[in-house]
Symmetry: C2
Amino acid sequence: MVDQDKLPVVAVDAMGGDIGPSAVVPGVVDALSETTGYSVALYGDKDSIQTELNKLDCSSLPISIVHCTQAIEMGDSPASAVKGKPDSPIVKAMTDHKAGIVSAVMSAGSTGAMVAASLMILGRLSSVKRPGIATVIPTSGKPFVMLDSGANVQATPEHLETFAKMGDTYCKSILGNENPTVGLLNIGEEPSKGSELTVAAHKLLAESNLNFVGNIESKQLPYGPVDVLVTDGFTGNIVLKMVEGFGALLIKILSGSKDSKSDDKSAMLEKMDYSSTGGAMLLGVKGSSIICHGASNSRAIKSALVIASRLALVDLPTKLEECLSDSN
Amino acid sequence: MVDQDKLPVVAVDAMGGDIGPSAVVPGVVDALSETTGYSVALYGDKDSIQTELNKLDCSSLPISIVHCTQAIEMGDSPASAVKGKPDSPIVKAMTDHKAGIVSAVMSAGSTGAMVAASLMILGRLSSVKRPGIATVIPTSGKPFVMLDSGANVQATPEHLETFAKMGDTYCKSILGNENPTVGLLNIGEEPSKGSELTVAAHKLLAESNLNFVGNIESKQLPYGPVDVLVTDGFTGNIVLKMVEGFGALLIKILSGSKDSKSDDKSAMLEKMDYSSTGGAMLLGVKGSSIICHGASNSRAIKSALVIASRLALVDLPTKLEECLSDSN
């Protein structure tokens, strides 16, 4: 029998997201029922968590509770919440991650508090000026990793190059893709097209040792044109939320169809379902920080926890630091 | 009988777009068969145009041909094409527009040549620093007008304010919408969210006399949240091409469905079909310049010509100049 005390621990904010424990706890139980090799510590109000656990068949699963007496509210500024609420789930979990007690932290929000706690408590990798949010974007083909999806509103060409290298390392280390293609989101295919930022970033990426395939226009995105898509956080956030909006519309239309011979459509629904692609990862900090969508249902929590458990097993920050400190 | 010589003339580049005369000429004939009050002058190689006209029943329609001996090629730089090819369809038509011989110019491209010819031959309105491309974006609800859709890669808050006012005037003058809602595309709803550009633009728009409803997140776009959406040309072009890509995917999926009870889906297909929304308009120049998608089929040409004919009948540049010179 495996010694549960030796398993890497994923800290999960049980109170996070719009739904809270009634979505998070079932998602955690589902993930642990299907995947092994890690344990989960649920951070939050112990009574609320226990109430949800009691509804489920999970006594044999490696789940523990870390009681927290504080909560971050919608109105709290992220930075002051991190400083002023040490016993809130996000802050306490991140502090435990820094201390090596847990191997990854996952929360459905707020995003601002997760980013602030990661930066202030874990800190940046020495070779990363701006950590970026990596999200997995569903498409009708293969999903791709996009970063930055909104950690920073402004970017330099050098930031975009760092995002590209972190996305590349993520694909190699976590997804097992040995030679991921990297594209730059732009408004034309030619290297000369776009803003000063994208023209300069294209040059840096073309000179790097990445498998850079050039500029990608947004009309290609629904078909999954690359493994890693690089963009600034403003544009990335616009793209992310458009995918979310169009995906929801598509699912609504397809679900409402009366077509019975719908194997193709079922496959498409599955592919385009945002809740199957896992959470967003803040790459470039000294730790593993996974941010789920605020509207996450238990299925989304489950998907994100599967990714979080892989991050807990692989020391991604060290791999990122190695990759980024290489010349080129 | 109406004197055809008195009708406003829309100049149409018969050679434009990926398909050329075999898409443009049927689209023009279809539009003129269903709408009246204007005539069309087809600019291009007269033999190629006549060959297409001969295939169609159009002898009674108000169509003329203006023969052009030059053609703008894909490799030509827009500015040098405008200077060096005065007898190409776009340049000749724009020169005739400047001289008052035609009331609007429409072409399926190249976009670069149309923008350059509009700026160099017609010139900017005195109160407009940066003309913007306005596109009509199809949604599952009502379509909206988005600008800038790609005329400029960089923008200032003042440019965005001008775009908002031009979109507002367009809705009022051409679409008959007396009180259009105006939104600012951003990565959060709160006024403080976003880049320096969007924060400053939000302030200017909130202080204007427009019906400004605030920031709009991209996840709302598939549902048609406003009448006018304001953004910089880089972000606008990303959004435009994503809508195009997702629209094509949606149509492909819905068209392939075997569902027979599909009135809802037919209506959705019609709504989301890019070719039904007309061309893009370059707003802020001293004239009416309509740019169709390079891949326009005859249906797209027809839709764009209906809009172009309205622009030919209404003196939009004068209305824009009036609106923009008002205090506020």
